[in-house]
Each structure stands twice: as structure tokens, then as C-alpha cells.
């Protein structure tokens, strides 16, 4: 039966080539845009290198000071704040404190080279999962001793040394300070803002005063929970600690409360992007809005397809009449039409996947976002299948229902009186 439906579906597609083209174009173009956006989303906040154990990771990157008139200001927390209130937490497996990204200057001959860099502790390399191409991460004793050692990204090494191979043991001079290269890692996409850099150096070698006792500074923390299920326990412990933090005394300011949260990568990214420091991270609204927009975006070609499908009923009334006359139930006709429609949307979906892969390739080679290698991974592929199914059902149910309700005598006469 399925084969018979597919045969008919194929013939119907070939019979009305123009409508088929319009339908396929609508489906594939819509899907391409959705997939490209989803690939970018997944690449930014999905479980990708180096945040592979994403469900166990929590990020702390914004600290807000509240006064009577509301928020007095927000900025990243300081190193000393994180050392005092985050490092001693008992529930996480590991805690890493590092600076948010910045740039450092190096010279290659007379050429000035700007490198994105990050100061980190030794735990940074244990909390995250970098791919080491050669060498090793720097160790806790090296960080404690403020050893001038560095880990470079592949492209950082290539830009400075002209090669990414055999550079371990060589010296890189940044901001007029010499560092010995101990390791080279695979490039991290710039979209992974909390781990990305081209040069990582021990936080104890920072030229800034990391011992400054004020709460606000240039740092962030990454926490690794024992398990995904344990992450909320870590968040609760941190919330308890935060509730006991003494409010800082700053001249000219009356501060009532310190507000700071540990959240998932998505939660922290949404907070940072929308500068939201309140108790609600805004992820639910964010996801609702983008899902709504996605659905709305799919609705337009779906409505177009509904329209085309309804008009096709006129063409096929004789067939529907015959099928009913020979014993097809309404359910059987609904299934037939849905399968046909899913077949069409699946074709459009395959085209859309191809177009999305092409568009992502173009984006990758354009260098718009540094070191980015967007690709269609299994998550994106499965989401595409889900979207195709949703699209097929969205555009097929109403015409299928209308088709099944066609009055058989009218249908055999070629009319569409339902």
C-alpha cells in the first residue's frame, strides 16, 4: 500500500512541475534558513569542544550590585571575589577561575600581531576538554609559581611561529614578556566566548592586580559538577553562599545586595547578551520567542503548501471518488494524502539540508566568525527531520481532512462539493 502511495505521490509531483518547484523551493529555503540558524545556535551553546561535558558545566560571569533605586551597575566579578566565594564551594568537582577574553600584542619581526588571550588557572584545562595537538596544559605548581608558560591555539602558533608543529619549548613574547610554549591545542571557535583564545597564560602572570579586593573585575568562573543531576545542587550551594555575602562599602554608593548566579552555558550566554542580571535568566522567554519565530517562519510556506494541496483536490476528485467507491475509508485517504505530503516535504527537506550544508560551508570559508567550522551534526540532522515532519503534518492535515470528506458522488462527477 505504501509503495502504491509513493508511486502516486511521485507521479503527482511530476505531473505539476511548476507547483512542485514552488513547494520544494518554499520548503527547502525555509529549512535551510532554520538549519543555518540552529547550527549557529548549537555551535555557540551546544556541547561542542571544549565545552563537551556541557550538562555538568556552570558559568559565573556577571555580578550586579543593587541599591534602593534598583541596579547600580553590573560587570564581571573580580578574581579575589571568585577566589573567596566560588573556589571554596564544596559541591562542584572542580572550579576554574579565568579572565574574560582580551588581546595581547606580540611582534613577528617588525609586524605587530594581536592575539586573543585569556589568563586561566590550571583547573581550566581539567574543567574543559581541549584537543591538544602537542605538548600539555600548564600545571597547578606552574600557576602557583607564576611560571611564564603558555598554551597556544593552532592558528595562534601558526601566526606567530609560521607553523603549528614543533613549537613546544619555543618562546613567545607577548606584551614584552617571554613565555615558554608548553602546548598547542586545536582552534576553539570564537563563538565559544568563555573558553576561546589564541594564547592562554597562567592567571598569576597577569599584569593586572588580581588581588584587588573589590567585587567587580575582569574574571569569570567555570564550575564542573560531579554529574548533570548534581548541577542544581551546585547552583543551590552557590545561591546560599551569595545570600551571606557582605555588601561592599563603596564611597558614594548605598549597596543593598549582591546579585550573581551560576548558570548553564545557554543561561549565561542569554544573560550576557541581553544584559540580564535578575533572578530569571530569561532562557524560557528566549526559547519561546525563537521557537515562535521559527514556527511562524515555517507557517508561511506551510500555508502556501496547504493552498496548493487544496487546489490539487480538484484535480484528483475522480481518484478520490474511485478509492472511496472501492472501499477506502476516510482514515485511509487521510493517511494516503499525509504520506504523499510527507514524501514531498522530505524531498524538500533533503534539498534544504544540502542547501544548509552549502550555506554553512560558505559561512565557514568567509571567516566571518574566527575559527568557526559550522557543520550539520547529528543533533542538527535530527532536528531537521523533526522540522520536516512538523512541516509535513502542518501543511498536510487540513487538505487531507478536506480530501477525505469529499462526497463520493460529487467527486466522481469531478466536483469538489464536500
Amino acid at each position: 500500500m505504501l509503495l502504491s502511495y509513493l508511486k502516486i505521490a511521485w507521479k503527482v509531483l511530476l505531473r505539476r512541475k511548476f507547483f512542485t518547484f514552488i513547494s520544494l523551493f518554499g520548503i527547502s529555503f525555509t529549512l535551510m534558513i532554520l538549519l543555518v540558524l540552529y547550527a549557529m545556535f548549537d555551535f555557540t551553546v551546544g556541547p561542542q569542544m571544549p565545552e563537551k561535558r556541557l550538562s555538568r558545566l556552570l558559568f559565573i560571569s556577571q555580578l550586579a550590585l543593587l541599591g534602593q533605586g534598583g541596579e547600580l551597575g553590573d560587570s564581571p566579578p573580580s578574581y579575589s571575589f571568585l577566589e573567596r566565594y566560588v573556589r571554596p564551594l564544596r559541591t562542584p568537582e572542580k572550579v576554574s577561575i579565568n579572565t574574560l577574553g582580551g588581546t595581547t600584542v606580540a611582534y613577528v619581526g617588525n609586524q605587530k600581531l594581536k592575539l586573543d588571550h585569556k589568563y586561566t588557572d590550571a583547573e581550566f584545562w581539567q574543567v574543559l576538554d581541549f584537543d591538544f595537538l602537542e605538548g600539555r596544559p600548564y600545571t597547578a605548581p606552574e600557576v602557583k609559581a607564576a611560571a611564564h608558560v603558555a598554551v597556544l591555539s593552532e592558528s595562534g602558533a601558526r601566526n606567530y611561529f609560521g607553523t603549528a608543529r614543533g613549537v613546544v619549548g619555543r618562546t613567545i613574547v607577548t606584551d614584552e614578556l617571554s613565555y615558554r610554549v608548553v602546548g598547542v591545542v586545536r582552534d576553539v571557535p570564537a563563538a565559544r566566548t568563555y573558553s576561546y583564545a589564541e594564547v592562554w597564560q597562567p592567571i598569576t602572570t597577569s599584569t593586572q592586580d588580581i588581588r584587588d579586593p573589590s567585587y567587580q573585575g575582569p574574571c569569570m568562573a567555570i564550575l564542573l559538577a560531579h554529574s548533570a543531576a548534581d548541577a542544581p545542587t551546585v547552583q543551590r550551594e552557590f545561591a546560599q553562599v551569595v545570600s551571606r555575602i557582605p555588601v561592599p562599602k563603596e564611597e558614594g554608593w548605598h549597596i543593598d545586595k549582591v546579585q550573581i548566579y551560576a548558570g548553564s552555558l545557554l543561561s549565561t550566554t542569554v544573560r550576557d547578551v541581553f544584559d540580564n542580571t535578575g533572578p530569571d535568566d530569561g532562557v524560557a522567554q528566549f526559547l519561546a520567542i525563537i521557537s515562535g519565530l521559527g514556527l511562524l517562519f515555517m507557517l508561511l510556506p506551510a500555508l502556501n503548501l496547504v493552498n496548493i494541496n487544496v487546489s490539487r483536490i480538484l484535480d484528483r476528485s475522480s481518484e478520490i471518488g474511485v478509492r472511496k467507491a472501492f472501499g477506502a475509508t476516510s482514515d485511509a485517504l487521510i493517511w494516503q494524502f499525509l504520506i504523499e505530503n510527507l514524501f514531498l516535504t522530505l524531498l524538500g527537506g533533503i534539498l534544504g539540508l544540502g542547501l544548509a550544508a552549502g550555506a554553512l560551508h560558505l559561512l565557514n570559508s568567509s571567516g566571518l566568525i574566527a575559527h568557526t567550522q559550522f557543520s550539520i551534526n547529528s543533533r542538527i540532522f535530527l532536528s531537521a527531520l523533526g522540522a520536516i515532519l512538523l512541516f509535513g503534518l502542518l501543511s498536510g492535515v487540513y487538505p487531507a481532512y478536506k480530501m477525505s470528506k469529499l462526497h463520493v458522488v460529487q467527486a466522481l462527477k469531478g466536483g469538489t462539493n464536500v
Binding site: M1, L3, A325, F326, S330
Partner: protein, 230 residues
């Protein structure tokens, strides 16, 4: 081997069919009483618009009467659910239409198989086998892979008859099966239907305009303005 015409296949009692639009009420059938017995070949005649096709649609359970009762297996059709009615059409009735109503996108073989698609428990192999047998009966074994557009009118009607036969229905309802054919092809189709009735005992009800064809059947029902006149 012909069955004794005593077992009723279909019984219509006091059937009325009225088409109602906002301004006009058209009586298509008026108090029609009719029983079709197993193995009969009955023809229905009458001028255009007298209700012949409406009567055939009602007998084929494709439409509902405005009043009156249609009984299948001595049970009124209104007591069947939509799903059961679809099952009855599939098992008991085969249709042959004046304009063939073959599906142009399907081959001859796929067209003939169609009724068995809706019959549970019949696999693809058996469907194919029975379609080939039905096509053999109508003399079209050599055309199984053709599409309807590649056949003559007479051949298309043979395919339609094969499609009506494949489900081994108790009754074939043929609505002017020779209406679109020239006289030679019309005679061929008529001979085929007579053969099915006389050799295989298939019950046939045929609407026709052709007096000569009607005379070849066992019983003739005449309709005029929706009423039975003979």
C-alpha cells in the same frame, strides 16, 4: 452454472431521494421499491435525468436516500458505521463507470489491484496474482504495464471491469458502461458482462440507454421522473 435468483442481495424499500437547494427542491427518486437477487442481470433504463444514476449510487452505498430503507444482508444500511459501509463497498460491490475513472498515474495492473489495497490480510503477491487473473478474464493480459492513456476506450473499460471483478464482489453496478464507446466496442463490453453473469453467476445491475442491450438482460426496470414505471 447459474444461481437460482432467490437470495436477495440488495433490497430497496420506498426509496426517495430529494435534492434540496435554497430555492428548488428536485425529486430524483420517488418511492422506488426494488430487490436484486443473487445471479440476476438487471438493467435500468429511462430518459436522461430520470434518476437512474442516483438509484445506482444508492445501491452502491455511495449516497444516502432522503427516506426509505436500503438493506444489505437483511440489515438496513443506516445501522452500519461509515467504516463498515466502506468495508461493504469493498467486499460486496464492484463499480463500472461510464467514463472508466481509471487513475491515470497508475499502470493497468496497479489500477486493477486498487480494491484489494483496502482489504486487510491480502499481501502484495496475492494482489498481483489476482490482478493478473482479472486482466486475463477481460483479455488484457498483454497490457499490464500500460497506462490508461495508452489504451483505447474499450480497453479502458475492460480494465475498469477487471478492477470491479478483482474483489470477487457479490454484485457489479455498471453505470452506462458502453455509453462512451462505439457500437463494436460496446458489444464487446456487453458480451463480457453477459459472460460474467452467465458463466460465473455474477450479479449485475446496469444502467443503459441502449434498448438492445437492455433486452439481453433478464430483467428491465424503467424509470421515469424518478418513479418506477416498469
Amino acid at each position: 452454472m447459474k444461481a437460482t435468483p432467490l437470495t436477495p442481495v440488495l433490497r430497496l424499500s420506498e426509496i426517495e431521494k430529494v435534492y434540496q437547494t435554497r430555492d428548488i427542491e428536485t425529486v430524483a427518486l420517488n418511492r422506488v421499491n426494488l430487490t436484486i437477487y443473487k445471479g440476476e442481470f438487471v438493467s435500468i433504463m429511462g430518459p436522461s435525468g430520470c434518476g437512474k444514476s442516483t438509484l445506482l449510487s444508492l445501491m452502491g452505498l455511495l449516497d444516502e436516500p432522503t427516506s426509505g430503507t436500503i438493506e444489505v444482508n437483511s440489515r438496513p444500511v443506516e445501522s452500519y458505521s461509515d467504516k463498515e459501509l466502506a468495508g461493504l463497498r469493498n467486499l460486496k460491490i464492484g463499480f463500472v463507470f461510464q467514463s472508466y475513472h481509471l487513475i491515470n498515474d497508475l499502470t493497468v495492473l496497479d489500477n486493477v489491484e486498487l480494491p484489494l489495497l483496502y482489504r486487510p490480510g491480502i499481501g502484495g503477491k496475492e494482489r498481483r496474482q489476482r490482478a493478473l487473473e482479472a486482466l486475463d478474464k477481460v483479455g488484457l493480459s498483454a497490457r499490464t504495464g500500460h497506462f490508461p492513456s495508452q489504451l483505447s476506450g474499450g480497453q479502458r473499460q475492460r480494465v475498469a471491469i477487471a478492477r470491479a471483478l478483482i474483489g470477487r464482489p457479490e454484485i457489479i453496478l455498471a453505470d452506462e458502461p458502453t455509453g462512451n464507446l462505439d457500437s463494436v466496442m460496446g458489444e464487446e463490453i456487453m458480451a463480457l458482462l453477459l459472460g460474467l453473469n452467465q458463466q460465473e453467476g455474477t450479479t449485475i445491475v446496469m444502467v443503459t440507454h441502449d434498448e438492445q442491450q437492455a433486452r439481453q438482460t433478464e430483467r428491465l426496470i424503467r424509470l421515469f421522473d424518478g418513479s418506477q414505471v416498469g
